[in-house]
Symmetry: D2
Subunit: 315 residues, 4 copies
């Protein structure tokens, strides 16, 4: 796969999550994850993690069914945005410009081949803390000191009917580079990991066994330490949140992880990469065979059944 | 300061350290830091951390006095290398091409305004593990499971007669962006932090109170966790290594840190950033005043005296 | 010193803290330490840590000056209580029986030679969680998942005019064993550590340079991990609490520590001992000389000046 | 069950492990666990953890089949030893006195009702470090800074044909107190936890489904932190050691755990209790029903099948 040599997209931006249990989901993000609600518009609450430099991180929207709404990506510059829009339009999947929301400037809408709503923007307001002013001025707002204390959004993992097509799309349209992938014995990719900059992954496509389209496997937040993730497990245990799997260590990209289901049914991961970065600008992709995957996670835990049967919307 | 919009340099590459106590320094890096010696040429040992994708991380050279030799930077592509060489030559500080060493391809030499030897290259061999093959194929070699287990080199902090001139140089020549700085009441910068990609700093210039030139404040390694750094303190304690300061948390860039002196006299830091990344491509520089610095580190520890009186070479 | 062979006292029980800033102190213990108020009687709030099996851990009392009120100790059995009362009465420092408070049964009052109010009891009510019921039934109440999450009280450190006399008293009266001590060049003890059971210390006497009497150096809480203590430092930083010293590791008894001043002025420690226990029933006392103490803490940090000038009440 | 009110036994002492793969088992304990061999007598190596105050912790003996040899317990005093010997003789399971080995004084031999060899002693030599002298004089020897760095032995878990009979025996003979137990729907105990002093368990009996007798479920070591256990998993992964289960957190007694099989086939646990201690001298036993156990471990992981099918000797 020809990967364009560029860094046009800086990072994964705000993601919209859909929930049929709005109040409970809001409690999960606001009270257990210590996120702050910065706006409420229509059926949506806009929530931010404590070190989010933008105005919001997650848009939580009341709907009939769980799932993912629009995923946003921030371009590195005005020029970079133009280049990306041109690249997206060339794929025929562009949906045109719209006004941004809650601090976000002009936004170009598009969809990936699986139908996931996406957007790219460059202009953004920076969060100005008020009663949550931090003691150290190089962080966005005060460390909450409660709940999971997730610092920032880390990545999104979509279910896709055609993993190869979607992966090729984000490589072309967003300039993402692949880091790792699982190739089944039949030659198809079971999952494909893509990244911006030094992070080992920001967007993942996993095989949607239902062939439904436009479904979510999970979004992930990044606490600072593995200990934070162990504490998170205690917090979820005490609060009756379904812990699906972990804490454990992924073989792929070696992230320390914990998976839970928020009350709306969406799978949420907490992931810590330690000091691991992808420094090599030409890093060869790491490919895992079906047999290698059977070994389970890094320390041997087998992937839990529901990991391959639960996605949102539930179909 | 006009920062060029580019990512031409991927990361800090191998650094040469000079030591008047070669055997003891080698013991420090090989036995306490669990680095592996991959080559011995002349008076130099080439050592790698366990997750270094290149052949070596530190070149340790026996000399009369401690200090820093050449610092290398890896370009992101062949084109990027050419652009950087042109930018360096435009400053008048270029020293021309040379063959690389120990797996490194053609290398362009230069010096910063303070006289620190530097180099930029693109081609590099990737390490192929032999008896140190890792269990997971997405890491460069086996986790050593002994000593400090530093995963990778993190950054370098130079002493400089003229911090402003040196900072402007790495911005122009290497395309680095500033992240933070200390501005004294007299308007001069006491220290200036620069970064590539998402890391919050890779190169730092600190004021050289001696006006000697070409001196080192420290190099830093990145273990995976803060607990690794606490354990490192125990290991250094047991092995008679001078612990200068820490473990504690920096106010600037919020790194959790430990400073020791390796037996040759060079200051070595162990630094952990947690999940903190500089995602914002336009992040405004964070400037600290002299008064703000007087508050000490993040949790109030005052900067130790020797931090401002010890550098290598000792003059 | 003849140490009686017994385990008559099970552990340090509730401690009364005096504060001239009741509301702010209450906020500190309740909101930052995640303690729960279980009773309010007169000028006192009774607060418990989340894994306290009794009804309360700290009695916080509004007074004119900071300091320590009564320290309680729980006997191991009814017979043990009788033996201790007899031993205390033999010292001439007994003050007679009183009714216990907030779940505590008959209580025998006494004072140590420095005038610190003490008490010993056996009968105690066990806490029955209501809206704070834990998910796992082998813990006293739900893990709060906010603030410092201190699991339990760990130890108390008194200032004393005569360290030797006070140490001999708790050995005789309470059957405590010494674990470590600092002997100055003049032969006097600068501080003396005593313990019940397998813990390395529960009561400490430190030299009161003011010769005032009945003063407190600090009380300590035990979070589960060193990471908890690092997070606590961030929480105190954000909340404007004076961080006096640490996080660092004590040479004596090797505890990982953090010292802060609660808003009333009392010094509060957070201490973690790792897996270290005093298993040896005859462990020889560890004595540190004045010269050894000059080396500072385990990793070299010098003891901060205020550690030897601040106690409560401030005199 | 009437538990005698005493503290006659101080702690679990050295345990003999039997291995059919002596060299590989020795490598496991010496190289991966950083234990030190202090003696070699006949077919046995005597190994100590770094903070063991006695001369040795584990006696590793070459045999035909894996399993457990003699378990030793240290009495709190000479009088306590006499009381325990009298109590053991009263059960009819005493085997008489023998000379101790490798620093251990006169030793009284006995067997539990399941046939596990046991011994109780009081006199013991204290380890005097030589080339492994610690920097801090309050620890037994230098922190090794390699491998798993297990500080001390923590507990032993036996398989037993009759859990109730064995539990009643250690309560009577050794004065142990029960902390937790699992009661099946048929009224029998599936497992029973007993402790000395403040530790939550030191000896456990688990149901031996084979009714073989004299078998081992596992022995456990105590590293200082949960992070140590996560690192241990990486070390075992790199060294080809079978990781059976974990890292995860037990519901029972809430220990953070990792189970591996040493090369001889014996299950070895690494366990961390955080700051949790059983302070209450009368703590009511915590009983778990069969239904409660079906919920799995604290964070939901189901107990792995081999946990109920593998014991040593393998039968």
């Amino acid at each position: 796969m020809a990967v364009p040599e560029n860094f046009d997209v800086a990072h994964l931006g705000p993601v919209e999550l859909l929930t049929p249990s709005f109040d409970e989901s809001l409690w999960f993000f606001r009270d257990l994850l210590a996120m702050r609600e910065v706006a409420r518009i229509g059926d949506s609450a806009y929530l931010r993690t404590w070190d989010e430099y933008q105005l919001y991180t997650v848009k939580l929207t009341a709907t009939d069914a769980a799932g993912v709404g629009r995923t946003s990506f921030r371009a590195s510059s005005r020029d970079a945005l133009e280049r990306r829009v041109a690249a997206i339009e060339a794929t025929g999947l562009g949906d045109g410009w719209t006004d941004g929301e809650v601090g976000t400037g002009p936004t170009f809408l598009f969809r990936d081949p699986d139908g996931h709503a996406m957007a790219v923007y460059y202009e953004t307001d920076r969060y100005v803390a008020t009663d949550d002013r931090p003691a150290l001025k190089n962080q966005a707002s005060a460390f909450p000191g409660r709940g999971v204390n997730a610092r920032r959004l880390d990545h999104i993992n979509y279910l896709a009917k055609d993993v190869e097509a979607c992966g090729a799309f984000v490589a072309d349209a967003l300039g993402m580079r692949e880091s790792e992938r699982i190739r089944l014995d039949n030659g198809r990719f079971a999952a494909w990991w893509f990244h911006f900059g030094l992070k080992s992954y920001d967007v993942v496509y996993s095989d949607d066994w239902t062939r439904h389209g436009n479904r979510l496997h999970h979004i992930a937040f990044a606490p600072d330490t593995r200990e934070d993730i162990l504490k998170a497990a205690d917090i979820f245990l005490e609060n009756g949140i379904h812990i699906e799997s972990g804490p454990h260590k992924h073989a792929i990209n070696q992230t320390f992880f914990l998976y839970v289901w928020e009350p709306g049914g969406n799978r949420i991961e907490f992931a810590n990469a330690g000091a691991r970065l992808l420094l090599d600008p030409d890093q060869p992709v790491v490919e895992w065979s079906e047999q290698e995957r059977r070994k389970g996670q890094a320390w041997g835990m087998k992937t839990i059944e529901s990991f391959h049967t639960h996605g949102t919307p539930v179909v």
